[in-house]
């Protein structure tokens, strides 16, 4: 059944390759763009889920989506209150100050965290090169000393000079980055980078996979980006005592002004936040695939026009409409199969090239999207082959053979 379509494909090599390439580009775009859009978000969600916590606490004025939450938002007093309310059910509360900083040419969410809580945010990944920032908590101690010890009740506006801030003994402007950011920016331990109007010293590199790409001392983040108010953070991670029931714990722990969500909901929040982008990407993919299949349809249409004599020969032998239609659809399916192979192989190549050129991007080529691309290819092949196939069944055999 298949050998006449195959012979036709092999006989018209350039046209066949171009047709398969057209399909391949469409499928490659579908898999790669989806992999890029969803992969980058999934990578962020994976990193947040690596935090050793069960709940996120954040100000209730923020609504239900905290994916863009940053800066001063939540009093640190809530940490003690949550622990007190939860009692033995709460194992740990970790306040985090989030801020955007531009590193390696791209904005990143930087996490300000106390050195003692740092392992919570990185899921215990440790340091692969260098050391943790402010390991002895010197900056925190120094800033508390400047405030007279009572940090939470102080309303003093302290005046710290840039030189004091940058003093290496205070360990304030120290930065730990993950290995991916280090690769993207060609950063090494000991390098100094300028971000958020300050000179930061990279003191350590952590394996990729922790909550943020970069970490700084929380007190420093509060002081620099919270208007010198070191009593407020952005959100808090809550670790429950095992066996944890995050959804069940929320009503018990929630207090006025505080909203809580299971950590596992962060992925859904991201997907909701970028739902419009997914629609855009999917629309672009759909248009690309439609163009690719129109290309196949035009190719097959041209093929039918060019092969009217061959079709007439088959009909003179008694070929049924079904036989003729199957020949065209088989050829379409073969071109599409070739295109799908090119497209899937190309998407792996594109993913490698994108991640090599832009290490901060994640292209996730998933089995699910390969199957979706294949299914789209199969449906597209059928649809794009139907009209030319129908045309082929209507070839006037006498007229076509008379052309000679």
């Amino acid at each position: 059944m298949g050998y006449l379509p195959l012979a036709n494909i092999l006989h018209h090599k350039l046209r066949s390759v171009l047709s398969a390439l057209g399909i391949g580009i469409g499928i490659c775009m579908l898999v790669t763009l989806s992999g890029l859009a969803r992969g980058s978000l999934a990578e962020v969600a994976d990193r947040w889920e690596s935090v050793d916590a069960d709940l996120i606490a954040y100000p209730d004025i923020w609504g239900e989506n905290i994916t863009t939450l940053a800066g001063v938002a939540l009093s640190d007093r809530y940490a003690a209150k949550i622990s007190e309310t939860g009692g033995e059910a709460v194992e740990n509360v970790v306040p985090v100050f989030l801020w955007q900083m531009k590193l390696a040419g791209q904005d990143h969410m930087v996490a300000g965290v106390d050195p003692r809580d740092w392992e919570v945010l990185t899921g215990g990944r440790g340091i692969e090169r260098g050391r943790l920032f402010d390991p002895q908590g010197r900056f925190s101690a120094w800033i508390q000393q400047r405030l007279g010890g009572d940090v939470e009740n102080s309303d003093e506006v302290i005046d710290i000079t840039p030189a004091e801030l940058a003093d290496p003994d205070h360990c304030g402007l120290e930065l730990v980055i993950d290995s991916r950011l280090a690769a993207a920016g060609s950063y090494a331990v000991g390098d100094t980078v300028t971000a958020a109007n300050h000179e930061w010293k990279i003191v350590g590199v952590t394996p990729v996979g922790g909550m943020a790409r970069a970490y700084i001392p929380r007190r420093c983040a509060q002081f620099l980006f919270g208007g010198a108010d070191i009593t407020k953070s952005t959100l808090m991670f809550i670790k429950l005592t095992a066996p944890a029931d995050p959804a069940g714990a929320i009503p018990k722990l929630r207090t006025a002004g505080l909203q809580m969500a299971p950590l596992s909901q962060y992925r859904r929040m991201l997907e909701q936040k970028f739902a419009v982008m997914f629609r855009y990407v999917d629309a672009v993919n759909a248009i690309t695939l439609i163009v690719a299949f129109l290309f196949i349809m035009i190719t097959l249409h041209t093929m039918v026009l060019q092969r009217q004599r061959d079709i007439a020969i088959l009909r003179s032998c008694g070929a049924s409409n079904g036989f003729i239609l199957r020949q065209v659809l088989t050829e379409s399916a073969m071109l599409t199969a070739g295109g799908a192979f090119i497209g899937v192989a190309g998407s792996f190549g594109a993913a490698w090239a994108i991640e090599a050129a832009r290490p901060l991007l994640t292209v996730s080529i998933t089995f699910e999207w390969i199957v979706i691309a294949m299914a789209a290819g199969a449906v597209g092949a059928l649809i794009s082959g139907l009209y030319p196939g129908w045309e082929a069944t209507r070839v006037d055999m006498v007229e076509a053979l008379a052309w000679e």
Binding site: Y3, L4, N8, H11, D310, C317, G318, S320, E404
Partner: protein, 228 residues
């Protein structure tokens, strides 16, 4: 009818066929009657434009007549295309002037595809018929790699492959030199005698027509003379 069943493979009665539309419409076949006897080698001659090829197309069920009836192997040919296709597939083999081989397939595959089209999976039949027509060595060659004479022999092999009762040949020697034409006519004669297949051949060539058992002449869409 019973007599026809025994003696005649094909009957055409009061055939009318027009080609073209509107002002360009030409009445090609005009109340044509023809009887083809089972096992005979019939030649149809006539000047260009007299309707020979159109008659062959109608007799070969490639197109239907506007009016009239055709009886093939004792069965009235229905008007609908699927029925004509079915009868054409089972009973008829064609040999064309320009061979009409599929250029993308080799010689053996040209025969195999004609068998597949007919729903026949006959193992070794392609090789058998190529051997019968002394083309076995060329089985893997594509038509473009063969001489004109070889191509026409391949076209005959394809027409014979499914053992049709009736072979219709439209100017089969028209593109061949005299030596190849002679060999082809000998081949058709041999097929007619040894395989007992009925052959209807349209030709301009009086020499070619002499190979036939019987010659009918056409003019203006009608049979005007028969030498029987």
């Amino acid at each position: 009818m019973s007599e026809s069943k025994n003696k005649n493979i094909l009957l055409a009665r009061d055939l009318h066929k027009s080609l073209g539309r509107g002002a360009a419409k030409v009445h090609v076949l005009r109340s044509l009657d023809l009887t083809v006897r089972r096992g005979e080698f019939l030649a149809i001659m006539g000047p260009s434009g007299c309707g020979k090829s159109t008659l062959l197309h109608v007799l070969g069920l490639m197109t239907g007549p506007d009016e009239g009836r055709i009886v093939l192997d004792s069965r009235e040919v229905p008007d609908d295309e699927p029925s004509r296709t079915l009868l054409r597939r089972r009973h008829i083999g064609f040999v064309f002037q320009r061979f009409n081989l599929l250029g993308v397939l080799n010689a053996a595959d040209n025969i195999r595809i004609s068998l597949r089209v007919r729903g026949l999976e006959m193992d070794g039949r392609a090789e058998q018929v190529l051997d019968q027509l002394h083309l076995a060595d060329l089985a893997r060659r594509k038509p473009a790699q063969m001489s004109m004479g070889q191509q026409q022999r391949l076209a005959v092999a394809r027409a014979l492959a499914h053992n049709p009762e009736l072979i219709l040949a439209d100017e089969p020697t028209g593109n061949l030199d005299s030596d190849n034409a002679k060999r082809l006519l000998e081949l058709l004669r041999q097929v007619n005698r040894q395989e007992t297949q009925t052959i209807v051949m349209v030709t301009h060539s009086a020499t070619a027509a002499e190979t036939a058992d019987r010659i009918v002449r056409m003019a203006d869409g009608k049979i005007v003379d028969t030498n029987v």
